[in-house]
């Protein structure tokens, strides 16, 4: 009898535990997510900016037509899911992409979302609207887009000039929100209106950006959070310390550098941190219009002088990645694998061999130990630009190039580069979407505003177009590698390394998946509550205790 009672009691306890565990893991509504921000966002208009400082906080205000699945770490064509569009289809010759739109969706001011808003948004991006966007950094993405039409209130069609299967990738990224027709670009900069899970509340320069839950959000039961507050803290040391002290639930998107990550793990062992590529590459820009850099030999010699591993070891503690124009695997979908990369000129690990070859080229051009080429290496006067520039100068010395550092204040950097007022520059490039169409057309295509070097080769334009039209993504990948190899060997914008950085959050923040191949979505979308998963169980009153257990669904006082 006793054994029976014991068995029943044990079974009951087990069932009870299962229910408790399930309840503990289930999403819980409520709580305001507190994150810090590194600086005042330049504006709230995502279409007019090319910085994570805007996209990270403001993403929650908007929806896209389609988006990358928030639950999947690597973004690709295979992970695209519906957002404002419920379904989409190509026509027979794949030049028209028709979206069926979700009905009953309202903007934050109560006005209904219709196909006209899709038309308005892409007219803005194409530069056809009045008033225009003040800045339009992604106009080059839509080179192939002829027009967008509203076939009905809930159907919109993108008309392309030619087939472009990866067009959907551009629409799924964080830089492609849908804007309302009835709100001017000026208003969108200061008080954006969208259909997203969070409404903009306020921005105070150098203080905060606040968002509150959209109670009429079209995804039922979402968002889980009552709001998101980004506190602006300029000093990186202060904001990371504040995270360690438990004042924030979340760090700014990939703000924690590798050296700082060690400090965070030491001082806040309970925090969950992930080191991921951030879609930003450090590269060289060489002014091909300024002698002697119009000589391909000198450009090649410069590329051969670079010891990429030295940069990676010194600045990234060995964690950064080598790669070409496209983000390298495993995070990047299109980057050259190691065995292919090794065959690209300048990427061989035989540094001395590379440099010997470079010296030979320079000697052939009349330079040598007694006749060294004097150059200026220009770069932005912030650490993430300046530090690699200093190392680059050291490497160039090995091939008879004596460089001096020319630091340029941020306000002048792009203007200086735009008017080609530099010889050699150390630059950073961020990828909004891990797709060759975005990268090639933005950074390497003739006439693109962000093609800083002015690199322009008709044969490469043809290759960009060829890969853009390929439906077989595996074959496309091979062609992309070939293009990437050519770009590196042409010294179009020689890549030095791809940066990694960390994202950290408190253990009571759940449902967050760091995206690894885009700086835009690697943190921003999750905190915006766009998906089924993101949950903040709500802050504890006061500061959380230091002994929060990993894996617990809510903070506990003791891990025993």
């Amino acid at each position: 009898m006793k054994r029976k009672v014991f068995a029943i009691a044990s079974a009951a306890s087990l069932v009870g535990l299962m229910f408790c565990a399930e309840a503990a893991l289930a999403a819980k509504s409520g709580g305001v997510l507190k994150a810090y921000h590194r600086g005042t966002p330049p504006s709230g208009s995502i279409h007019e900016e090319a910085t994570n400082s805007t996209v990270a906080p403001y993403m929650g205000v908007f929806n896209n037509l389609i988006m990358y699945d928030q639950a999947k770490a690597i973004e690709s064509m295979d992970t695209i899911v519906p957002d404002l569009a419920t379904k989409w289809a190509w026509n027979s010759d794949k030049t028209k992409l028709t979206f069926t739109l979700r009905e009953g969706v309202k903007f934050h001011d109560g006005k209904p979302f219709t196909a006209k808003d899709v038309v308005c948004t892409w007219n803005l991006v194409l530069g056809n609207a009045k008033p225009k966007l003040r800045k339009n950094p992604r106009k080059s993405w839509y080179k192939n887009l002829d027009k967008v039409t509203a076939d009905s209130d809930y159907q919109a069609t993108f008309h392309l000039k030619r087939i472009q299967p990866a067009f959907v990738a551009l629409l799924a990224g964080g830089y492609s929100p849908v804007y309302p027709c009835h709100v001017s670009p000026k208003k969108m900069r200061t008080h954006p209106i969208g259909t997203g899970p969070f409404k903009f509340v306020s921005l105070k320069q150098n203080e905060h950006v606040k968002f509150t839950k959209n109670m009429d959000y079209w995804k039922e039961g979402r968002p889980y959070l009552d709001g998101i507050e980004w506190t602006i803290i300029k000093s990186r040391a202060t904001r990371v310390l504040a995270f360690v002290a438990g004042k924030f639930d979340f760090t700014f998107n990939v703000d924690v550098t590798i050296p700082l990550l060690k400090d965070v793990k030491a001082q806040a062992p309970h925090a969950v941190c992930e080191l991921v590529p951030i879609g930003v590459s450090v590269n060289l820009i060489v002014n091909q219009f300024k002698p002697p850099f119009d000589d391909a030999g000198i450009r090649k010699a410069m590329v051969l002088s670079i010891d990429r591993q030295a940069f990676i070891d010194i600045l990234g503690h060995g964690q950064y990645d080598r790669g070409g124009a496209m983000m390298p695997p495993p995070a990047g979908v299109w980057g050259m694998p190691k065995d292919v990369l090794a065959k690209v000129a300048g990427y061989s690990l035989d540094i001395e061999g590379n440099r010997a070859a470079a010296r030979k080229i320079m000697e052939g051009l009349g330079y040598g130990a007694d006749n060294r080429l004097k150059v200026k290496v220009s770069t932005r006067n912030i650490a993430v630009y300046r530090d690699p520039a200093v190392i680059l100068i050291d490497h160039l010395k090995e091939v008879y190039i004596d460089a001096t550092l020319d630091t340029v204040e941020t306000s002048n950097w792009h203007a200086k580069v735009a008017r080609k007022d530099y010889m050699v520059g150390l630059n950073l490039t961020g990828a909004g979407v891990d797709d060759p169409d975005a990268n090639f057309y933005e950074n390497y295509s003739c006439g693109s505003q962000r093609n800083y070097t002015g690199y322009c080769k008709p044969e490469m334009e043809k290759l960009f177009e060829k890969q853009s039209m390929m439906e077989d993504q595996e074959a496309r990948k091979k062609l992309v590698w070939e293009i990437d190899k050519k770009l590196q060997e042409d010294a179009a914008r020689p890549m030095i390394y791809h940066i990694k950085s960390a994202q950290c959050w408190q253990p009571y923040v759940h449902g967050f998946v760091t995206h690894v191949n885009s700086i835009i979505t690697s943190g921003a979308w999750k905190t915006s509550g766009w998906t089924n998963n993101p949950v903040a169980t709500g802050k504890m009153a006061g500061t959380p205790p230091r002994n929060i257990c990993l894996g617990a669904s809510r903070p506990v006082r003791s891990c025993g």
Partner: protein, 315 residues
């Protein structure tokens, strides 16, 4: 006295006009403007759009015309709009000024509270162990970089108490305000108190060697009476000058403290505005700092006449 005040007022006005011209011209001499900053965040510069933005903001007008517009606005209390936030300058600056004023006031209070008495003690106990300790402490106050000290304080709080004394939300009441600002104020005040302490000590030592001090001592006055009633009263004049200078410096010089402790005051805002080439904010804020500085200097000069009856401002 009345003539002196009028003359000083006219001098102040001339000083302010000079400062307005200098800041206006210097800002425009700096390469780049708000349009360049705007395009920086987009990663490129569109010359046509940039020209359009400059036209909208009046930056294409001749510099004397831009200056005239600004001064005319100042005279009618139209401080213009922030280029960055597109909000009225008054709305941007208004809430920030009291924050810095409180921080500066508290810092000054701490610096005088500790600097003066410690300076007296150090002078009175000259060449004793206490004197040496105080001098070492004051030297460290002058030598420690303020950003380093501020960060050390934050790290100490985080590792010891698990909290961080930075500004995250506006304080609800006076007590919360005091608690919030006291630590950064103490960090700033440490340096100022070191300066005041050393000057007070030096000034006191000089005064205490005077004959009238020896006379007072021989007449049987107590040490306290000698130190505070006779000596300090005469030693405090140069210290008053330093306190005045420190007060003026604090208004604009709290940039590091405000940055590290994340306090949304005017000093930090000014630096951000300069980096962003937000001309209306920079110009108006610099003028405000200039006004405060000249007024404080004037007040210090008037205080001399109160502290030292021998000083008379007369023709």
């Amino acid at each position: 006295m009345g003539t002196y005040i009028v003359k000083r007022f006219l001098l102040m006005l001339l000083t302010l006009i000079g400062i307005s011209i200098i800041i206006f011209v210097l800002l425009r001499l700096m390469p780049g403007n708000i349009a360049d900053i705007m395009f920086d965040s987009a990663g490129f510069v569109d010359p046509a759009e940039k020209a359009q933005i400059e036209k909208e903001l009046g930056l294409d007008l001749p510099i004397p015309v831009q200056y005239f517009h600004w001064i005319r606005g100042l005279l009618v209390w139209d401080l213009g709009f922030s280029y960055v936030s597109e909000m009225p300058s008054v709305d941007e600056l208004g809430p920030r000024i009291p924050i810095t004023a409180k921080l500066a006031g508290l810092a000054l209070f701490f610096s005088v509270l500790f600097g003066l008495p410690l300076g007296v003690i150090s002078a009175v106990k000259q060449d004793t162990a206490l004197d040496y300790i105080l001098r070492i402490v004051s030297l460290s106050g002058l030598s420690l970089p303020s950003f380093w000290l501020a960060l050390l304080i934050l790290m100490f709080f985080v590792s010891t108490f698990g909290t961080i004394p930075i500004y995250l939300d506006p304080p609800d009441n006076l007590w919360d305000e005091l608690v919030l600002y006291s630590i950064p104020a103490a960090a700033v005040g440490f340096r100022s108190s070191a300066l005041i302490m050393r000057l007070t000590r030096s000034s006191m030592l000089e005064v205490m060697r005077q004959d009238y001090i020896r006379t007072a001592r021989s007449k049987g006055a107590s040490e306290n009476s000698i130190n505070y009633h006779h000596a300090l009263k005469n030693a405090v004049l140069p210290v008053t000058t330093i306190i005045g200078i420190e007060a003026a410096f604090l208004i604009g010089g709290l940039i590091i403290t405000e940055t590290v402790f994340n306090i949304p005051g005017v000093a930090h805002f000014l630096v951000e505005a300069i980096l962003m080439r937000d001309y209306p904010i920079v110009q108006n804020l610099v003028m405000l700092i200039a006004v405060v500085t000249v007024v404080i200097n004037f007040a210090v000069d008037m205080l001399y006449a109160v502290l030292d009856p021998r000083i008379k401002y007369a023709e």
